[in-house]
Amino acid sequence: MNDTNAAPEPAEHQDIRQRNLRILEALLFASETPLGTAELRPFVSDEADLDLLMADLVAQYADKGVNLVRRGDKWAFRTAEDLAFLLRREETNTRPLSRAALETLSIIAYHQPVTRAEIEEIRGVQTGKGTLDTLMEADWVRMRGRRRTPGRPVTYGTTEGFLDHFNLEALSDLPGLEELKGAGLLSNRLPPDMQIPLPFDGALRDDEDPLDEGDFGDADEDE
């Protein structure tokens, strides 16, 4: 082991080593599951000592916000345990709104004040109990009042939370017929008498009564 002879060797080694480490980093980062020797081996240079490389990586990340941890005989990046609180806010159990709910919401937005029967007429299908519940729970839809017609059905409208979520300053920001066409959301072959209503979210209309006292809490039993 002569120092002057060995000098060029380590430099080259160092490059290869660095490259292997970068590859392992990228693979482990991009992988959807923890990776083991079998999956990692083909990507590093043949003579590389995988265990040594992994030990090196583990050490590099030991003090970082993210650590490289063993899961059985595999490895994965995981948030450092002392920072787990960062990921423990509210359960952002984000789920996309169902198609039925989206449709119902859009009808309420454009046609408000609107009753459940009217929503069903426009959609052509019955609206499940859960759909309106979901929309009210999300604080996008509210009961406005009762229509002054037989049966006094509840009228629905959108909330401020709705405007907030969809980043609208006012209901009048909802695009009109021409804009929907322009964006390709409505075809150009519509009947000429097709109309898009002007939504109304002001106080109660002439044909609306205020909600009854018992209305709060039993949204679904009114019809």
Partner: protein, 263 residues
């Protein structure tokens, strides 16, 4: 579509196919400008050096053949033909001094500019698609750590999805099996749409009624084309979108996009 996509990523080497291919392939082009660009490429010179006059003649000849063969082409191709016929006449007839219509050279330069711009945008698209893309060559964290515990259900919906849902409900009810009827009369709306495309955003005077009738209509339709486009012109003038002038009785009607707040 697939053939086009494939073509898209390949170098657009000038195809040395015979001219006849063009006639068969009208539908393969993305509009008249695309066709012109292809014709210009066949001149095998830099776009800055093309002969616009030769290009115009080639295009007009092409449209002529297409019409003889009674192949249907979209109105856009005919609008372009009308414009090119006008351009050709401007290029060939010397300009009188008091003529403040755009010179043929101006119009030719404009066409060259549009061709270069379209080619540049295509090239840009190609470069964009050649970049390393997310989830193909560049990757995000594969196993992101979701934020959990507390119980609030958060519903995801974008304004776009909302509007799309609304559009689809409103369309659902519409009976879609109507047969488009063949028109023999130009509606005002049609005339207006074509005029607007013809005048575009250009602020130069364009005289077109004659070319319009010649290129956009069969002889039987000329009267209705002229009447409708004239009425549509007046309508556009009334709305302040167009300016109209006629220097002598029965002379050509010149129009241009109204110039707003320009000295």
């Amino acid at each position: 579509m697939n053939a086009l996509d494939k073509d898209w990523f390949e170098d657009p080497a000038p195809q040395s196919a015979p001219d006849d291919v063009l006639y068969v392939d009208v539908n393969g082009f993305e509009g008249p400008l695309d066709l012109l660009l292809e014709m210009a490429r066949r001149q095998k010179v830099d776009l800055a050096q093309i002969s616009v006059l030769a290009l115009a003649e080639q295009y007009l000849g092409f449209i002529e053949k297409v019409r003889q063969k009674r192949i249907e082409v979209a109105a856009d191709y005919l609008v372009m033909a009308a414009w090119l016929a006008y351009l050709k006449s401007r290029l060939m007839v010397p300009q009188s001094v008091d003529d403040d219509e755009p010179s043929g050279e101006m119009m030719a330069a404009m066409l060259q500019f549009r061709l270069k711009r379209l080619e540049a945008m295509r090239d840009a698209a190609r470069q964009l698609m050649a970049r390393p893309k997310l989830a193909q060559q560049i990757f995000a964290r594969g196993d992101g750590e979701p934020i959990n515990i507390s119980r609030t259900q958060i519903w995801e919906a974008s304004l776009y999805e909302l509007l799309k849902a609304y559009g689809s409900i409103r369309e659902r009810g519409i009976v879609s099996d109507y047969q488009p009827t063949r028109r023999s009369v130009w509606s005002l709306a049609e005339a207006r749409a074509i005029l607007e495309r013809l005048v575009g955003t250009s602020t130069e005077w364009v005289a077109l009624d004659g070319y319009l009738a010649e290129y956009l209509a069969t002889p039987a339709e000329r009267a209705t084309v002229l009447a409708s486009s004239f009425s549509a012109t007046l309508e556009l003038v009334r709305e302040g979108q167009l300016e109209l002038r006629q220097t002598l009785a029965f002379g050509p009607l010149l129009m241009r996009r109204r110039q707003s707040e320009r000295p």
